[in-house]
């Protein structure tokens, strides 16, 4: 039931997203568009909406998986250094393979994201006792450190402008022929769904999971692999979307619990809805121009994140 309501909202939002923009396309004229309108619809509007749906879903599911693997409610690709490590990977790719395709870039970014996140997990496992808030705090700092390495080399090699476009999530540049890589994350989401049960068990702790007969090490590597790959693809095609991975899974688990097999699609759908709303705001606020969506996500996301933190701390 709830699932259907959510899907309905998503559908309404997706459709309205299609009809917002400088080139006016009226929904009642949908069957009698002129050539320009058709072009706009097929080459930018539809790719953009698809991107929004996929990116929102993927980012929040990545957060969900990471939260189970680290047993911490506040971990996500942005608060565990994954995104910054991927950015370092992009920098390396730009330096060593200057004429690279998006695929090579994503590959290197993935490698770095994976290694960086593993490093972070090793770091927090050295802590004697985990405090819920301390883990993401160290994660953010870890991300900052890697981020400053990136800025340093970007400065040296005069790639700052080029790099800062990877910093900001932006859907304005999405058009046909440049975004198809993002489809790569769809099989990852499906894969995550099939292993949702394993992730749920892993979320109960290493001892518990091992006791039941789960290969904890393997499921951890597998989960981080999915997360790193998906995050890198999103970063290469769109850019950074701060805190999306923290807030959506938290809100969903607040109402529907932690059984991942049941919450996965809800989380994905809610993530898409949230991102579409943010994107619509970013397009409407300075018509006919637009602001990068990551700023809208940053403003709304950080307010919700702080509310969640204060609420979580009270418990």
């Amino acid at each position: 039931m709830k699932k259907w309501t959510l899907m309905l909202i998503l559908l309404v939002l997706a459709i309205s997203s299609l009809f917002i923009g400088v080139q006016s396309i009226e929904i009642r004229n949908i069957f009698q568009l002129d050539e320009t309108q058709k072009l706009v619809l097929w080459s930018t509007r539809i790719p953009r909406t698809i991107c929004l749906i996929i990116a929102g879903a993927t980012s929040s599911v990545c957060g969900l998986i990471m939260q189970h693997l680290t047993q911490n409610k506040f971990v996500s690709p942005t608060t565990a250094g994954t995104m910054d490590s991927a950015r370092l990977g992009i920098l390396v790719a730009m330096v060593f393979f200057p004429n690279n395709s998006m695929l090579v870039r994503s590959g290197v970014a993935f490698l770095f994201a994976f290694l960086g996140t593993m490093l972070f997990i090793q770091l927090i496992q050295r802590l004697p006792q985990k405090n819920q808030v301390m883990v993401p705090l160290i994660g953010l700092m870890f991300g900052n450190i890697i981020g400053s390495v990136v800025t340093f080399f970007a400065y040296q090699l005069q790639l700052v402008q080029n790099m800062s476009s990877w910093l900001q999530g932006n859907f304005a540049t999405i058009s046909r022929g440049g975004y198809e890589l993002i489809y790569l994350t769809v099989p990852l989401l499906i894969l995550a769904y099939f292993y949702a049960y394993h992730f749920t068990i892993a979320g109960m702790g290493r001892d518990m999971a091992t006791g039941i007969g789960l290969n904890y090490q393997w499921i951890q590597l597998f989960g981080l692999g999915i997360v790193s790959l998906a995050s890198s693809v999103i970063l290469v095609t769109i850019g950074g979307l701060p805190f999306l991975g923290v807030i959506i899974p938290n809100i969903i688990s607040l109402y529907y619990g932690d059984q991942m097999k049941q919450t996965l699609w809800l989380t994905a759908g809610a993530g898409s809805c949230f991102l579409i709303v943010c994107d619509i705001i970013s397009r409407l606020v300075v018509q006919p121009y637009e602001v990068p969506v990551s700023l809208v996500v940053g403003v709304i996301g950080s307010i919700i994140f702080i509310a969640l933190l204060l609420k979580g701390a009270k418990k």
Binding site: L137, I138, V286, V291, F305
Partner: protein, 324 residues
Amino acid sequence: MNRLKTSLAFKLLVLVIAVIFFTWLFLTYQTYGNWEFALKLRGKKWLAFVLVGIATSFATITFQTITHNHFLTPSILGFDSLYILIQTVLFFFMGHQLGGLLSNKLALFSVNVLLMVALSTGLFFFLLEKGRQNLYLLLMVGMILGTFFSSFSTFLQVLLDPNEYDKLQGKLFASFGNVDVSLLKITSILIVLVVLFLLRKAPELDVLHLGKEKALNLGVDVSRLQLQLLMAVSLLIALSTALVGPVTFLGFIVANLTYQYMGTFRHTSLFVAGSLLGILLLVVGQFFVEQVFHWNTTMSVVIEFIGGVYFVGKILHERKAELG
């Protein structure tokens, strides 16, 4: 007691000599004969280092004594970004109507600093009230607030007219490289005044360091003192940010190095040593970045890196010690 004093004096002397030596090196190294030009250019930078070093260490040490915590600094709690947000908001909403008033640098500067002091003092109180039990929560909320402020200011900046945006940029991101000379004078006067005030309050800070209850018993009006100190801290941070832009981890590094180096809790010595260390760090850092490694990088990136590593290391270390 006497021996302690001599050893403190000796440590300070070492710092003074180091500062003088590196200042000399910084000002004279490879001037290629263009003595006066180089001196003028570097002297300006050096003055900015001195002001920022002093302001940062006074502010951070005071703040850490008020909060009884060696992790907290105003910058880590997001106050640099608050400052930039205030400046952006002012420019955004009043840029047109009050164009005449706000194009006056001094006016903009004063309105900005006043607002900063008022708002951040309020925010300090809110955060410290909320985060009394959980340090990590407080740090986290502070850092996220920082993200919020900077996202929001970038958001407003994107909305600005490109011409106005250029004007704003010029005001916001002064870095060590191009210090605004017209503000240097007024900033230095204000910093000196606040610093003198804090030096006068040093004995009371020593008492406050013992804890709130003890300070109350010893006859200190704690809440009044706290308010005064917080205002002084906000003022110092606002001034230093106005001068060179945000340097998040400088205060953290300097304050913690100072405690370790000096091994005392007398605030007069801490303040003096901290300022010297801050200046030393900036001058040496700039010297290496510019002259030795020939990096184009602004130094704040280097500080961010070192500070981040130091911060994580200290949290991990503290955490281990806490649990035996």
